[in-house]
């Protein structure tokens, strides 16, 4: 089944935030951001800006009726700076004017005098100064210190991975309307409507029941609109509430890039130890997460880094410690993978380093140590593993042996170009690691004409969740999909939602829809059995018709629905789903946090132009664990799209902050995401279908985040090609591998 929005997307008729028809009298807001990364505000001069044409009001923290606070996990993030600024781009004031242009012209007239304070952008430096967001955490299994004594090979090193800009093509924005009785309706481009509702209520000093947040769809999110959509929505809500006028703010790209956080950069130290048969016996790793100026989701991201620090491998002795370091950058936030990719990059670096030391291809170590069913992860969960199955299938299906030989032969015969090949197994846990968030609700109405309307907490952002939810209802009711509509996500219809994140949106909301539909189906089946005078167990629905055993009856869906209505049977159901079996005790860092894991293996080949330092990705061949895909088109799209986003992170996407904490890569002209020519020549996706029982909706495993991590393979394939040209070069692990780093590496001379 195609994405349900396909037709309206292709015709340009799908409505996004900036397309919502505006109410007469709408005002426009723009944030005035801090021009420095760290300092004390001595004075703020607003008079000149207030005198600009069209300016209605300029809000500062003093205008907030409630609490000046939007921190999600830790209350350390004011909506607007009070006496100090902590990052370049931190909101100080909110200008409201009659037009967008007037508001933007006015912010140029605001003057702020800030006494500069030292700017820290490096997480290791922040840690040394004791600037931590939350206390460090350590995951531990076995005895790594003791195990190193039994190792035949030990390697230590450092690995760095840079941040990543989400670059959803639709920028952040919100539109708020004042309603009667002190209520506010907020249209927001957010993955977390409840977060917007909660913080708007808190800032405005009203109850959550007075804030309606409505989301039709996002033009991309990728985690960037999970927590960081909140500020703009709260700004608009605040201005609308105070002025009693509709207020809209749609960010320009540079504002968006400058003011919002990104994927967390990490700097990490590792030590890995193997026995003589290449079994990994011990692994120690210390992560320094660059959290930015406030917590945002950093503690949760850091936690997932620890969960995924051993990727797809079984390692009996692990000590992994992580520090969330406070720096003067915009608060870094969720991004597809949520700390997992950063953790996996380090273990892959460790394996690459020790493989080099021993003189074997890293794939030999990877294959040898894949986690198997029954093995224990460092956090105590016992694996139900598809890792060896995916690896073996990839090797067999794509003839990995021949691919390896071809690369070796090519490199023997060529100087101007070198090829590299890498293997990237992945293992990604599905569930919010905060157990309480694994709950969802669905509201399903059947109208008397037989049409069906679904509301859930899921936000559609291109990932296809709306389509999957309709598939669930269509399947339970056995109705054509066209008869089922999905509503915008609205906090008045569905309350206390978890954000659309953690790859779990379709599972959680899909299960809730399934429960609601089953309840309705039960009542309708009962009704049908009364009408037809047949036993309930013999009644079935098929294609909008009621069957008794295998025989169609006169009774159709619409007739049945009307009969139920006439008999005063409820045609609406609100259902609640909470993922069973999951738990985690952070006091001992052990438990069973994930409903299940998603596995897969990617084989990547690349070609490097050794004269120019440029490169192309020849092919990425993937076996991906879907269990039983409920929508192959959507799942394939997620795999291809996730992979390419991961490749971007590992290759051309380079975030550059200067020493003063100013973002230099602040536009699409200076920050490059993959274009149509830079993607792999071939992306071959083979679904690993199993009959494994799992907690996924219709046993169709979650697919949003895991494929991103296949992109890490590209870094290591490029590194192999580099080493083929310059075997003696001392090339560390510092992603992304830009053409600059590639060329410098190709011609780097051994330092000794």
């Amino acid at each position: 089944m195609q994405h349900i929005d396909t037709k309206s997307h292709l015709r340009g008729e799908s409505l996004y935030l900036d397309d919502i028809p505006m109410v007469r009298g709408t005002l426009f807001g723009v944030v005035y951001p801090s021009p420095v990364a760290h300092g004390r505000i001595r004075s703020l001069q607003l008079d000149d800006a207030l005198a600009m044409p069209g300016v209605v009001r300029i809000l500062t923290y003093k205008d907030i009726p409630g609490r000046n606070q939007i921190g999600g996990i830790v209350p350390d993030e004011p909506l607007m700076a009070e006496h100090e600024v902590h990052f370049h781009g931190m909101p100080i004031a909110f200008v409201v004017a009659e037009t967008d242009e007037q508001a933007r012209a006015a912010i140029k007239k605001i003057q702020v005098d800030i006494e500069p304070l030292p700017v820290i952008t490096d997480p290791r430096q922040a840690k040394a100064l004791g600037n931590l967001i939350v206390p460090p955490r350590t995951f531990k299994i076995g005895d790594s210190t003791g195990a190193f004594k039994n190792c035949a090979y030990i390697a230590s090193g450092r690995a760095d991975s840079n941040g990543q800009e989400h670059l959803y093509i639709e920028t952040q924005g919100a539109y708020a309307l004042p309603l009667e009785g002190g209520q506010v309706r907020v249209y927001s481009s957010t993955q977390g409507p409840t977060a917007v509702q909660r913080h708007a209520a808190d800032v405005l000093g009203i109850s959550m029941s007075q804030v309606e947040v409505d989301v039709k769809r996002l033009g991309g999110g990728f985690g960037g609109k999970e927590d960081q959509a909140t500020a703009w929505a709260v700004f608009c809500a605040l201005a609308a509430y105070l002025l009693q006028k509709p207020v809209k703010y749609s960010l320009h790209r540079m504002e968006d890039m400058r003011m919002t956080g990104k994927r967390h950069p990490y700097s990490s130290d590792f030590t890995i130890g193997l026995d003589k048969d290449l079994n990994i016996l011990a692994y120690e790793v210390c992560f320094y997460q660059n959290a930015g100026a406030s917590a945002d989701l950093s503690p949760a991201v850091m936690e997932r880094t620890l969960f995924h620090c051993t990727n797809s491998y079984y390692i009996p002795n692990v000590t992994a410690t992580a520090y969330s370091c406070r720096t003067n950058l915009p608060p870094n936030t969720a991004f597809r993978g949520f700390g997992g990719p950063q953790g996996m990059f380090v273990i892959e670096s460790a394996i690459a380093q020790i493989a080099e030391q021993i003189g074997v291809h890293p794939s030999r170590i990877q294959e040898k140590n894949l986690i198997r069913t029954g093995h224990e992860f460092p956090y105590g969960q016992i694996a139900q593993s598809q890792a060896p199955a995916c690896w073996d299938k990839a090797c067999r299906h794509f003839d990995a042996k021949r691919m390896m030989e071809e690369v070796a032969q090519f490199n023997r015969n060529n100087v101007l170009c070198k090829k590299g090949i890498s293997f990237m197994p992945i293992c990604f846990g599905i569930s919010f690691t905060k157990t309480l968030m694994n709950q969802a609700r669905a509201l399903v109405h059947i109208y008397t004409d037989g049409s069906v309307n679904i509301s859930t907490g899921a936000v559609e952002m291109g990932q296809g969740v709306s389509t999957k939810l309709i598939q669930v209802a269509a399947s339970v009711f056995s109705l054509p999909a066209e008869q089922i509509r999905i509503n915008s996500t609205n906090t008045y219809r569905i309350a206390n939602t978890s954000p659309s994140a953690a790859s779990a949106t379709a599972d959680l909301n899909g299960k809730a829809v399934e429960l609601a539909c089953n309840a309705l189906k039960g009542r309708l089946t009962d009704m049908a059995s009364r009408i037809l005078q047949k036993d309930i167990s013999s009644i079935h629905f098929r294609g909008g018709q009621v069957y008794v055993h295998d025989a169609a009856t006169e009774l159709n869906w619409k007739g049945l629905v009307q009969a139920a209505y006439v008999n005063r049977i409820s045609l609406s159901e609100h259902a609640h789903y909470a993922t069973p079996d999951i738990h985690f005790d952070s006091s001992i860092e052990k438990g069973h946090p994930f409903a299940y894991h998603v596995y897969g293996t990617a084989i990547t080949t690349v070609t490097v132009d050794t004269i120019r330092g440029t490169y192309q990705i020849d092919a990425v061949k993937i076996v991906h664990d879907t269990a039983s895909s409920m929508n192959r088109m959507i799942d394939k799209g997620q795999i291809e799209g996730g992979l390419v986003q991961g490749i971007g992170w590992m290759t051309m996407e380079e975030i550059v902050f200067d020493q003063e904490g100013r973002l230099r890569s602040n536009a699409l002209s200076t920050y490059k995401v993959p274009d149509i020519y830079s993607v792999p020549g071939i992306i071959d996706v083979e679904f690993h279908e199993t009959d494994e029982d799992n907690l996924a909706i219709f046993r169709s495993k979650a697919v949003g985040e895991p494929p991103l991590m296949y992109g890490i393979g590209t870094y290591f394939a490029l590194r192999m090609a580099l080493k083929a040209f310059n075997p003696s070069g001392e090339i560390g692990f510092d992603a992304p591998m830009t053409p600059e780093k590639m060329l410098m590496g190709l011609y780097q001379k051994k330092s000794s």
Binding site: L10, V644, L668, K672
Partner: protein, 449 residues
């Protein structure tokens, strides 16, 4: 006012999206139909980089103007391949690809090249490539039929396109654009709208691109003469250029994207004086000469004398580049252009470089060597150029040349690379020049490690 804002906020046509406002994402793509050299021609463009005045006497097509009752073949291909996810970039892709279907220009490349200015963050492009391939298959069946008529017959655009030539022709007669005397001159606008967006929307402009004469490329003996409003796409389509520069398609592909090439002018590339302007580098090597005109007065100036300092050029306000002329390379001569950027396509160079060699019997008689990203201006390298004169190519000459080039440049570290990188990269690009120009000797130019 930018055309994009007019479309969205005056005409309330919200299918045209805002992604970046600097021509780098293609979400705001539109088609521009205009009467050029007596023919109606459609090209894609990014409406964020167009002044409303650019639309004068033109047929502006948004996604709404492409939609019919049923999905068009382009839309159907996207639907079948699952090539839309969040959908925000999708109308831009549909418009650009439809632009390919209504374009007569056989040198425009493939269907995929038509959408190289569109960024998608969701799909990873594979489904989009498959959709474009479907469209390509249909387009490959077009023979002699005119592009618009073929597109209408295949349902790619609505029937009303057939009436446009007549309606546009009527417009050419009836309207002239009034501009004030102090109006600034706006070529393609593809750089100015990025650099000075806020000023752009307020300023008053005149549009040389509206004068047909300024868009001609012609040959006078062995001299090529280009009008000041010639665009990159005009060069790509020019038979003169195609004949004299066998590597043209390769070079053009390294310069921005299809819609930007449709809009960006060569003269604009010069006057913006960006140190990495691709065509500044290209024509510096060729020793192009400029004709500057102001109120009937004209003067000539070599391009090599045009760039004074960072963003400082030898041009009075009000002066306009009306002509660019240069000697075309003969069959013996050699020319090559190299560019490396963080992303190979649709990106600004870290370093670019061009070389033009006048040859006789295997000997270099005269050389022009230029490089961008290594000085405050697009740099002509006079010493290194002189060094090549009356020499035969050899590995020794190459190494001497690299040494000389290094002494002539002064790069700085910035978002496009460190000083060390830019120095190494330019040496490598000089090496690449030699390998490309003298393929028979290429192995001898490979660096020893």
């Amino acid at each position: 006012m930018a055309l994009l804002d007019f479309i969205r906020y005056e005409k309330n046509l919200t299918g045209t999206k805002i992604g970046c406002r600097e021509g780098d994402c293609g979400a705001c793509s539109i088609l521009v139909g205009e009467w050029v050299q007596g023919k109606l021609r459609y090209q894609s463009a990014t409406s964020c980089l167009m002044a409303l005045g650019h639309a004068h006497r033109k047929h502006i097509v948004t996604i709404e103007g492409i939609n019919s009752d049923n999905l068009t073949p382009v839309q159907k291909a996207f639907a079948e391949e699952g090539a839309t996810q969040c959908g925000f970039c999708t109308p831009g892709f549909v418009v650009s690809l439809t632009g390919y279907c209504v374009s007569d220009n056989v040198n425009d490349g493939s269907a995929i090249d038509a959408i190289n200015g569109n960024i998608c963050r969701c799909t990873g492009y594979k489904s989009i490539q498959r959709a474009a391939q479907q469209v390509q298959t249909v387009m490959d069946t077009r023979n002699q039929e005119s592009a618009v008529s073929f597109a209408v017959h295949h349902g790619m655009v609505p029937d009303y396109f057939l009436s446009i030539p007549e309606r546009l022709a009527a417009l050419q007669e009836s309207h002239t654009l009034q501009t004030s005397d102090d109006a600034r001159i706006l070529g393609g606008g593809t750089d100015l709208f990025v650099q000075q967006h806020d000023q752009m929307t307020e300023a008053s402009w005149q549009f040389p691109g509206h004068q047909d004469a300024l868009r001609l490329i012609r040959k006078e003996g062995d001299i090529c003469v280009m009008g000041g409003a010639v665009t990159v796409s005009d060069i790509a389509a020019s038979e003169i250029f195609r004949y004299h520069f066998p590597g043209l398609d390769r070079y053009i592909k390294l310069v921005s994207s299809t819609p930007i090439r449709h809009m960006a002018t060569i003269a604009g590339n010069f006057t913006n004086a960006s140190p990495i302007g691709d065509f500044s580098i290209f024509f510096l090597a060729l020793d192009a000469r400029l004709t500057l005109s102001k109120q009937g007065r004209q003067r000539e100036l070599p391009l090599r004398a045009f760039f004074r300092d960072y963003k400082l050029i030898d041009k009075d306000p009000g002066e306009i580049i009306t002509e660019i002329r240069f000697r075309l390379p003969s069959a013996d001569d050699r020319f090559h252009f190299e560019k490396v950027s963080k992303r190979t396509h649709l990106d600004i160079a870290s370093v670019n470089a061009a070389i033009s060699l006048r040859m006789s019997g295997g000997m270099i008689l005269e050389a022009g060597v230029s490089a961008g990203g290594v000085a405050p201006v697009p740099a002509f390298l006079p010493k290194s150029s002189a060094l090549l004169a009356n020499q035969y190519p050899s590995p020794e000459l190459l190494e001497t040349m690299i040494g000389s080039v290094q002494s002539e440049i002064r790069p700085i570290s910035d978002a496009r690379g460190s000083v060390e990188y830019k120095r190494l990269l330019l040496s490598q690009l000089i090496r690449a020049h030699f390998m490309e120009l003298f393929p028979g000797m290429a192995p001898s130019f490979i660096p020893t490690h």
